[in-house]
Subunit: 127 residues, 2 copies
Amino acid sequence: MEASDLFKCIADTQRLRILNLLEAGPLCVCHLQEILDVSQVKMSKQLSIMKQMALVESHREGTWMIYSIKEPIHGLIQNNLNYLREADCSECNQLQEDLLKRGKLILRITDNQEDCPSSICQQIDCC
Amino acid sequence: MEASDLFKCIADTQRLRILNLLEAGPLCVCHLQEILDVSQVKMSKQLSIMKQMALVESHREGTWMIYSIKEPIHGLIQNNLNYLREADCSECNQLQEDLLKRGKLILRITDNQEDCPSSICQQIDCC
DNA sequence: TTAAAATATACCATTGACAGTATATACCAA
DNA sequence: TTGGTATATACTGTCAATGGTATATTTTAA
């Protein structure tokens, strides 16, 4: 895995946002879609790209596919996520917003007793 | 200047190598060409791209164009250069090799009394 | 004023990333 | 076994990045 491939990957704002979210915990495709407000096809493709690069991995739970960071997270990715979360720029702010949205989303699927992939909700002792 | 633009920039190995070299000190186009072993046209284009992004700047000395990092260097660039110089990957090793080549090149143009852009050679009290 | 060196730009062809539509697959519940 | 939900893939058109050739520009020296 060359550094240039990793840079190319996170040069796409959506992929960067996905990695930022997954680094906080696993999510299924539809919830990623909801947070990033992006079409199903596009999300699926982005995840597929990063899966091929071995940056993320997935497992099935019923009809859901749960994506998570493939451990250990690559140092260059971690380094840049850390940097951008501290920095002040429009994309950096978006990463923070996404994490807030993620928090709300997890609360919502807990509270409303919505169907909830256990590997996501078990993070907060629900489901 | 969005983070994604910066990532796109350093996702190109040549541009990354150029920034790595310039961060160590100014160089003229022909010396960058020599170290990276790349055509004149291509080098000129890469520099032009980064000049437009305000990552580098240039000034003329005779027929030479001397390029240098535009201060202050962007934190994201600095951060990644620091990371890659410490890391171990083929591209990381290349960055180190380039810096060695740069050192030898500066010694050579000093020793051989070659024509030497003063803003480069004054770094080592020559010319 | 002409020639040579260093650099930049214009032009063109090729390639690769990306977005969208349609369709396929996998799983579940009735 | 049928329909619905979630997800993936195939196909296609479009646009941007890239690399090469030729040429222009700037400066210096003869």
